[in-house]
């Protein structure tokens, strides 16, 4: 008997051209008949918020259905049926323990590795982060094993926090116990990592294309025409929309490079980075969206800021540096500013989730096939608390999780138990993620 199939395109089809490779999104033509529901891959991502949260405006006292969200999470109101709020998780190795100061470096370093952070400026020693445990196992299935994105400049050397290397405060992803994966913070580099033929496009190709003011899509035009001819009208429309979004991102990158604005008076903006943080966030997460949509990677981390970030937020009327105001000493004026920053981040995050939700994938949507963790390694930034961590899990992990609820775990439950659960959902059989003690229960009610 001949199997029923309508498959015309391989899942891993690329549009290739000079110095460019553009992966395709999930098209109907890639799905054999009758198997549409099971073929979509699962994506997993972490969004890390620096400097903790104003917990007054985050905590919900009772478990149960997510009905009324706290002020900071209001931007997620229309998405509350798509998120789980998880309370009381802990990152024990972030605590001062026998060392004392250095909470910011430890908070980030311990968050996804669940490991002891060796206090040193040069002799790094940590553990493998949850994303890299997953990427090491399934990364070969996609063009990029993982994506590390940062929305702040990176530093890899020097003493950033009381004897802790800057590597701890600036890197969330650790491939091995001694090898951090620095996040990409320049839009152009991220763009070329996604669409260049190699990890980075050769300087000659890039210069030639920029000199001719050509889009990366011009380079793959021939190959695009061939694919368009081989798919149906629905897929053609989907392909057009997808290529338009790639072009829009490319134009945003170009605009940012030409933009001579300053972030705040006296501080130059890094080359190629939009001056407005909201634009920057959107540009970088638009690229992450495309990477997920086109299955360029299934694993990503996004550092909204490095731990201890001093970024000001003039866009929302807060010219103060972020970190100093988090040492609020219960000053209501400072707490309100922190809340405003926290809410702003959630608003930008919500826009990314909306995009995933609105993007159809087979019979489902991209958010349904994702697990996006949003949180921090600190709860209260003033006292540097490493327990009761603010944690949101968005997406259904492929119809597995039952979102729309608030779950309060017992205290001291390692946050890495959540990451171990996410890893297991991706099919990775990891014995443990750092200090995890098992899987988180109750995430699914089915």
């Amino acid at each position: 008997m001949t199997p029923i199939t309508k498959k015309a395109l391989q899942r891993r089809t690329f549009l290739r051209g000079l110095g460019a490779t553009v992966a395709l999104p999930f098209l109907d033509a890639m799905t054999p008949a009758l198997t549409a529901a099971t073929s979509a891959p699962l994506r997993v991502a972490w969004f890390y918020v620096p400097n903790g949260i104003d917990m007054r405006n985050w905590v919900i006292p009772d478990p149960g259905p997510l009905t009324k969200l706290p002020p900071i999470l209001q931007p997620l109101d229309s998405l509350k049926s798509e998120v789980l709020m998880l309370s009381n998780l802990t990152a024990n190795w972030g605590r001062p323990l026998l060392v004392g100061a250095g909470d910011h470096g430890r908070a980030l370093a311990a968050y996804m590795t669940g490991s002891f952070v060796h206090q040193s400026v040069s002799n790094l020693k940590l553990g493998v982060s949850a994303d890299q445990i997953i990427a090491n196992a399934i990364g070969q299935q996609t063009r990029l094993p993982s994506l590390e994105i940062g929305l702040e400049e990176t530093r890899q050397a020097g003493n950033c926090d009381n004897g802790y290397s800057c590597s701890y405060a600036y890197n969330i992803a650790w491939k091995t116990a001694t090898q951090p994966l620095p996040p990409v913070s320049e839009p152009r580099i991220l763009f070329e990592r996604l669409f260049g033929t190699d990890v980075f496009t050769s300087p000659e190709d890039r210069a030639r294309r920029l000199g001719m003011r050509r889009s990366i899509l011009d380079s793959v035009m021939e190959s695009t025409k061939k694919v368009q001819a081989s798919v149906g009208p629905v897929d053609r429309r989907k392909l057009d929309e997808y290529l338009s979004s790639v072009r829009q991102v490319e134009q945003q990158v170009e605009r940012a490079e030409k933009d001579g604005k300053v972030i705040v008076p006296g501080i130059e903006k890094p080359f190629g980075v939009p001056a407005d943080f909201g634009d920057y966030f959107k540009l970088m997460t638009d690229m992450l969206f495309i990477a997920f949509q086109a299955d360029l990677t299934r694993v990503a981390t996004v550092m909204i800021g490095r731990e201890g970030s001093n970024r000001p937020y003039p866009e929302i009327g807060i010219p103060d540096s972020h970190h100093p105001i988090t040492h609020h000493q219960k000053n209501p004026v400072l707490l309100d500013k922190i809340s405003a920053i926290n809410t702003y981040h959630v608003k930008l995050f919500a826009a990314f989730l909306h995009r995933l939700l609105e993007t159809k994938e087979g019979d489902s949507n991209l958010l349904n096939n994702s697990m996006i963790c949003y949180g921090s390694g600190l709860s209260d930034g003033d006292t540097h608390l490493h327990d009761e961590l603010p944690t949101i899990l968005a997406g259904r992990g492929g119809n597995f999780f039952t979102p729309g609820r608030h779950i309060i775990y017992q205290r001291e439950t390692p946050v890495t138990n959540l990451f171990a659960t996410m890893a297991q959902r991706t099919g990775v059989r990891a014995d443990h993620v750092g200090d995890s003690t098992g899987q988180l229960v109750d995430l699914s009610l089915s």
Partner: protein, 347 residues
Amino acid sequence: MQARQTPIGGIVYNTTMSRPDAALALALLYGIEGKREARVASIAVTENSLGAATFVDAVYRFYQLGPLANANRVLPIGLAADKPLPPDSPMVKAAIGRVDEKGEPVYRTGIRRVSDSAEVTALMRNSLAYFYDGFVTVVLSAPATYLARTLDYAGTRELIQSKVKLLIVSECKQDVPAMRRVLAEWPTPIAFCGREVGDALPYPASSIEQDFAWAAAHPVVDFYRAYKPMPYDAPAQDLAAVMYAARPDSGLFQLSGTGSLEVLDDGEMRFSANASGKHKRLVADPANKDKVMAAIRAIVTAKPVPPPPRRRFTPEEFEKLQKEREEEQKKRDLQDKKLAVPPPAKS
């Protein structure tokens, strides 16, 4: 030059909180902590109710004068809640259910539901990291179910080996497979505190009647009184185990020669002396009985001690500190500015 202080040790206490000596052991632990002789690393309540954890938390708060420390310094009370919880015992009810003339609870507590307590295996594991190597003693006065589980966690066996100097097993009916596993795999020396140690050291009812008069209400006294009709003397088995954990070199107790501790099929424990054994047992010299009980009684009945006042800087010290901070901030700002300079345009 000021001499460096000796690091303080920690005590992990896993209890079923089902006997009066367990409640007295809490008073002993917080009394020892008040004397800065050792710190309570963690307390895990297993095989008991939510109210039992609430009670332990009430005792902690009773002894804590001033603002409560956060979890960076003091970990929450653990409760094993992975199976249906039993109802509160009369002792627990007598303490946490006690109300004043306005109907308000007499004792403050922060545990009202299971999620206010800590998951016990993570708690016991996490608490070890707060102490220097070889400075923790674990007192197990409960089935070894959860302690055995910690051996499964990555890196925890090594953590135990480096942090824990001794596991003291206070005799009780055991979870047979779990205790056998602990006896076979636990990576530190093990000492056994049998029932006979407690039987030889009855805690006098007269102490309960007289020595706590300084408190209008005391949760440990309420617990003790509700166990059975007063007056009665309670065997001080857990008190002995905790006292040895805190003052191993005091001479109040001795460790026997080597032997083998085993768990019988019915969950009872047996210690047999032999030269090739890996374990020891706690021994109280009958001639020392009064001295030992006096030492225990003095700490158990002591009033809570306020924490040492935080050192305040003199105006000169404060000014110097501020200047140092400003200098440091300037340095960092300069570094940040250097980093903010855009890279030279590529040709």
